[in-house]
Structure formats: structure tokens, C-alpha cells
């Protein structure tokens, strides 16, 4: 889903070169949006580790900010997004790169990125329990926030209805 910009956004002076660098290196990736301080890139689960290493090592985004997931039930897909920022490269502290990948909703499986950003470990565990995404290679995917005996579909899926609703 794309943002419908009503007014022309400010000139994305710093994010555009980053987007160009990623597309040049990985021609298969899609740039979803380029804003003044935000950049979203979608790639595939097969390629995400290469792109992540490029974003971390070449572009300097060394600090994991958040990992989010979305259930796109109409498209039968689950999206996993890594939001990464930079704390040590001067000039791009304000920028957040959103690195997204999509997987089939029936059996979502993506590689873990904790060897790229070790801070993502608990975030991935939460995404696993809330959306049912299996992060292959993750050392521990036990329930974190949900009870150990949770016996239902993952609660942030759109077909899970909260009790009483």
C-alpha cells in the first residue's frame, strides 16, 4: 500500500542516494517509498540477508530500531519489516531504512537476521509468536509475551478475533 501524498513532500536529499545504491547493487529490489527521513525497500526472503549486510556494512545502518510484521490477508502474504537506523555514521542519524520481505501466509518462513543485527533477537521472537512467521536459524522461538500454552492461531493475524468481539 502506498501513501497518497496530497502535497509534494520535501526533497528527499539524503535518502535518494541510498535508494539508488541499493537498487544498483540489487536490481530485484523494489523501492516502496523515499521520503525525507524514511526509505522502504522490499526484497525477497532469499536475498534479504545480502541486502541487510549491504545496508549495514556499506551504508552504515548499524542500529536495529524495531521489527514489525503485517498480515496482508487479502494478498495471502505476511510482511516482515526491519527498521534500522544509524547511530555512528554522521549525517544519517535521522534516517530509518525499512527493509521488508514478504512470505506466503500459509507457511511463512524467512531467514533470521540476528547475525546481522543481534538486537533483533527478541523482536523476531515476538513477530514469530504474534504472526506465526518462522525465522529459520533463530536459536529460540519460544513464546515470549504470550502464555506458553497458547492454543490458537497467532493473535495478530487478521482472522484471529479477540474474545468478545
Amino acid at each position: 500500500m502506498q501513501a497518497q501524498a496530497q502535497t509534494p513532500p520535501p526533497q528527499p536529499a539524503k535518502t535518494q542516494p541510498l535508494a539508488d545504491a541499493i537498487v544498483q547493487k540489487f536490481p530485484g529490489t523494489t523501492i516502496d517509498y523515499v521520503r525525507e527521513k524514511r526509505l522502504k525497500v522490499t526484497t525477497t526472503p532469499e536475498k534479504i540477508k545480502e541486502v541487510a549486510l549491504f545496508v549495514r556494512d556499506e551504508l552504515g545502518f548499524d542500529h536495529i530500531s524495531c521489527v514489525s510484521g503485517t498480515d496482508w490477508i487479502a494478498k495471502n502474504e505476511i510482511e516482515v519489516i526491519y527498521f534500522v537506523g544509524s547511530v555512528s555514521k554522521p549525517g544519517q542519524e535521522a534516517i530509518i531504512v525499512a527493509l521488508a520481505e514478504r512470505s506466503k501466509r500459509d507457511e511463512p518462513s524467512v531467514p533470521t537476521l540476528i547475525d546481522v543485527w543481534p538486537g533483533a533477537e527478541y523482536h523476531e521472537r515476538e513477530t514469530h509468536e504474534m504472526l506465526g512467521v518462522v525465522f529459520s536459524g533463530h536459536p529460540n522461538l519460544k513464546n515470549l509475551l504470550l502464555p506458553e500454552d497458547w492454543n490458537d492461531i497467532p493473535p495478530l493475524r487478521k482472522d484471529y478475533i479477540s474474545p468478545g468481539r
Partner: protein, 372 residues
Amino acid sequence: MTVESEYNPDADRIMNVALGPQHPGAGHFRIQLWLDGDFVVKAEPDPGYVHRGEEKMSEYRNYIQNVPHLERPVILDSCGILFPYALAVDELMNNKIPRRGQYLQVIMAEINRIVSHMYFIAIYGIFVGHTTMITWAMGDRDFWIDIAERIGGARVTFAYIIPGGVRNDMPQGLTERAFKTCDWFEKRMDEYEKIFFKNPIFLERSEGIGVLTKEDAIRLGATGTVLRASGVKHDIRRDEPYSAYPDFDFEVPSLTAGDCWARAYVALLEMRQSVKIIRQAFKTIPAGPVRLKLGPQPRVPAGEVYARTEAARGEMSYHLISDGTPRPYRLKIGVPSFKNMIMIRELLKGVHVGDIPPVYWSQNFWPVESDR
């Protein structure tokens, strides 16, 4: 001391102990510990005892109904946790917030930062056996809550920062009182330094303990006071200025030690900067309206946005996806306590059992916030 590589969890000498979830200090949170005598060989945080499903709840409520329940996870810093939500909705709706509203947002966010840091220092005192600090800091905290009450109408959960600005204007005659509180509080912080931060007993309990290096802090995604105590000068208020922050002159304090003492002291230095910001804001607040009228059920255009602010505990972020209906399609709440939780596991390795309280509490960890 056993290093992790050579310990065997089945060996008799390793004892498995649960700290919490009803520990008076740890709150609604459990840490599983594997102990070898007096040393921690492994620690595993176990949150979830106060998980309320805020993210799922927000998919059933409209953008205004979401305001009160989103501030509940961390009522000490209720404006800090709502701030990025308001920014995210404003960004999608393309709202231009009136200047006076932005100044009030900043004033309340900074008062909440002080209130939250005071609570942090107060409980820190009791954790290391320093009873004076809990009585002083808890008492002094109330003067700030009094000012927040005059502005927001409640003492902890204000629902004050909302999409479109702030809920109401501040009362007349508050500025004088705020200046008085600022003057008094600055003197008071000097006294805190003498009785707590330079106190040999506290130094003994915290200096050189639970050291987080700069590299590890970045690698593990630390945020807030934890990150700045390890030598990284990263503050979203300065690096990605939002709301009225570009108008104010303040510094980003950071220390290099990365130990339990530095994580406490950086909070005191931050409160000094907050007082500086509050004073400037009251001095230069422009006249005018404080909010946009959005109506009871605002229509948010379809789109996706990631907004973040510097809350008291660190980077507070929301990933909001709207599909054009009155309710969010997805709202991911990225809370600083959850981001810092991995540090508890890493820093508890190898410490004495007696050092667990300062190592745990110096993360400024709030279990309810982490669980959402």
C-alpha cells in the same frame, strides 16, 4: 567462576532460580537465573505477565479511542509514549499543528521525562539500600506532577498529546510557578549529586559493574539512557528534531563508562537539560490555538508511516498502517524497554547475585511497557 562455555546445566552445582514475577523490585517480570554459587552463569528474561495485546486492541478502535489505552503501558511517561502516535497520525493526515500546541507537547513530554527519571532514581536508591533517595525523589517528583496536573487535568495518565495537537491549553498564571519549580529543582539536583551520585556507598555498588561497551550497545540495539551511558551521543530530539524541539537549545549528555553508575548519572544530566528546555518553552511560548479540530472519528488517508521520538526510556516508535478506514490496519508499538531487554540477559552474565538489582534496574526497564 564458571564461564559459560564450560558450564553444564544438568550439573548439580548449577542452581536454577526464578527472580520474580512477584519480586517487589522486578515488578511483573521474571528473570530466570542459573547460579553457580554466588555467580550468575546465565540469565533469561521472561516477560509477558502483563501483556494486554495493545496492538490488537488498537485495530478495534478508531484513532481517537486509541489515545487513552496506548498511554497505559507506561503511565510514568504517558506523554512520552503517546507523542509518536500523535506524530504518526498527524503525518498521515498532513496536519499542521499550531505552534502553541507544539510547545505544550514539548513541555508535557519534558515534565514526563523528569517524572519518569525521578521514579527511576528513587527506585534505584531502594535497590541499592539507599533509603534517603526514595523518600527525596518520590517527594520532589510530586511538584512536577502538580504542574502536569494543572496542564493536563490528571496526575499520571493525561491523554494530553493527541492527534491534532494537545487536548487543552494551559491555565493562566502557571508560568511563574513553573519558573519557581525549575529554580528550586536545579538546586535540589545538586543535593542529589552529593547525597547519592557521589556517595561512596552507591559508587561501591555501581561503579564498574555491568559494563556495556559502546560496540555492544550499538550491536544489541540499546536505546535511551543505556545507549548514552555507553558513549553514544544519540538523541532523537536532536538528531531527528520533531514538534517544537528545533526551537530549543539543549545538549545531549553522554558518558563513556557504560556501567551501572553511568546509566544512573546520565538520567540526572538529562533532567538538567529537561529543566532548561521547560524554562525556554515557558519563556517563549507563542499565543494562539493549541489544536486542530479533527472531529470525533477522523478519516486517516491510506498509507504507512514510521514515527519515533525520544521518550524517557529511549526510542519510542510506532509503525502505523492505515487503509483509509476509521481504524488502524496495523499499529506496531516499538517500546524502549523491549528494545533494551536483551541487555538484561547480556549484562547479568557473570555478575554476583548481589549485583543483580543495580544491573537490572540501571536498564531503566519497565515491564508493563515492554509487554504492552
